[in-house]
């Protein structure tokens, strides 16, 4: 296990004041805020910053960390000596147990047993949260997905380390981005015989090369020829739940939308599917094609710039 230099992560000196630590944390929390940051690894960096702050903003944890880590530097191989934390009392503050479960193995090894079992009380386990990336097909049909989460596990000595937890999940049809699905009893185990917490999964979709999703509505581009758009036509289009015949009205324009009601993501009410027309010009790369274009140029009084003045 690698030693983590929490001072280096927050960019502060080892003797920084509590105020300086808070200031540095807030600056980084803004920089790596996962909702707005443009940094490529914002989410991972934010976790690291949260972890460093959870230790350095807490007087007891900071004192224990300082005592343990004064001879170590970032990345160095590290094993905590047995009973290194004797004489310190850790309390969970700021970040909940479920939140700190997302921190590194290094953190779990050092502070993972805080607020652990004891006292003979009974309590429900904490809820856990994670994001899940699904494909659009699942939204239409539902389906099974295997997901793997990192969860804290306690060993016989009460130490906590992160372990992979694999779940086979049946996803109901009708999920869409930003929704939450719940897996009852798959959060942290209860204490003293209490029930386990739940696992909440926030749904996101894998980007799809053809379909774009907004709530339950689905958008796709439908390439058409100039004559299909001008004269009207019935064409076959593939859609997420199969293929459909769609009628393109005469005098359609590029960017025009055809709405297929209730063919979006299922639900109450179901979404709609929109096919956005994109007119593709045939290339003038053969004599006959050039001839046809020249005929149109001669015989059609068409000026797409007539309303632009000049």
């Amino acid at each position: 296990m690698e030693f983590k230099d929490y001072y280096q992560i927050l960019g502060v000196a080892r003797d920084a004041s509590a105020e300086a630590i808070k200031k540095a944390f807030r600056k980084l929390a803004r920089k790596y805020h996962p909702d707005v940051s443009k940094e490529p690894d914002a989410e991972a960096r934010m976790k690291e910053v949260n972890e460093a702050y959870a230790v350095l903003a807490d007087t007891e944890k900071r004192a224990a960390y300082d005592q343990l880590g004064h001879d170590y530097h970032a990345g160095q191989d590290f094993r905590p000596p047995p009973d290194w934390d004797a004489g310190f009392e850790f309390t969970g503050r700021g970040f909940s147990g479920a939140e700190s479960a997302e921190f590194s193995d290094f953190f779990s090894q050092l502070f993972g047993h805080m607020g652990g079992q004891g006292g003979g009380f009974r309590a429900r386990g904490e809820d856990h949260h994670a994001k899940i990336l699904l494909d659009l097909e699942v939204a239409y049909r539902g389906g099974k997905r295997a997901i793997t989460l990192r969860v804290p596990r306690q060993d016989a000595r009460g130490r906590v380390a992160l372990a992979d937890h694999s779940l086979n999940v049946r996803i109901p049809k009708g999920v869409h981005a930003g929704q939450v699905i719940r897996l009852a009893g798959q959060g942290a185990p209860g204490v003293g015989g209490g029930p386990a917490g739940d696992l909440y999964l926030e749904v996101h979709f894998e980007p799809h090369p053809r379909y774009r999703v907004e709530d339950r509505d689905v958008y796709a581009t439908l390439p058409v020829t100039p004559w299909e758009a001008a004269l009207g036509a019935t064409v076959k289009a593939s859609v997420p739940d199969g293929a459909v015949e769609v009628r393109i009205p005469a005098a359609s324009r590029s960017g025009g939308k055809l709405r297929l009601k209730r063919r979006g993501i299922p639900g109450e009410p179901p979404g709609d599917l929109y096919l956005v027309l994109e007119i593709h010009l045939p290339p003038a790369d053969a004599p006959r094609a050039r001839e046809l274009y020249e005929t149109m140029a001669r015989e059609l009084a068409f000026d797409p710039r007539r309303n632009q003045g000049g």
Binding site: L167, N168, R170, P172, R182, Y200, V213
Partner: protein, 103 residues
Amino acid sequence: MSDELEALLLERAALTLEELAAGCCVEVSWVVARVQADVLHDNPPTDPALWSFSGRDLLRLRRIRALERDFDANPELAALVADLVEELDRLRTRLSRAGLATD
């Protein structure tokens, strides 16, 4: 690998007040104060016993809690930031719907 698990889609009125509080790792009183400060989008009935919440409410309140904790923000400011983040999400979705990159 464990047996197959049934996932429940949290739509409207899917969570009780206690479930929402547990999902946000906070006390029930924290949620009551935020709801009464109108930080959620829908105004709930006056009696907290009649309250129910959606999965989106859960995500919004978790975001607000993190903003309050990380920046010592008051609930109204955290709600304002949550509004802006949600609006940003909507606009990014619309940009991507229009085939435009959002970077």
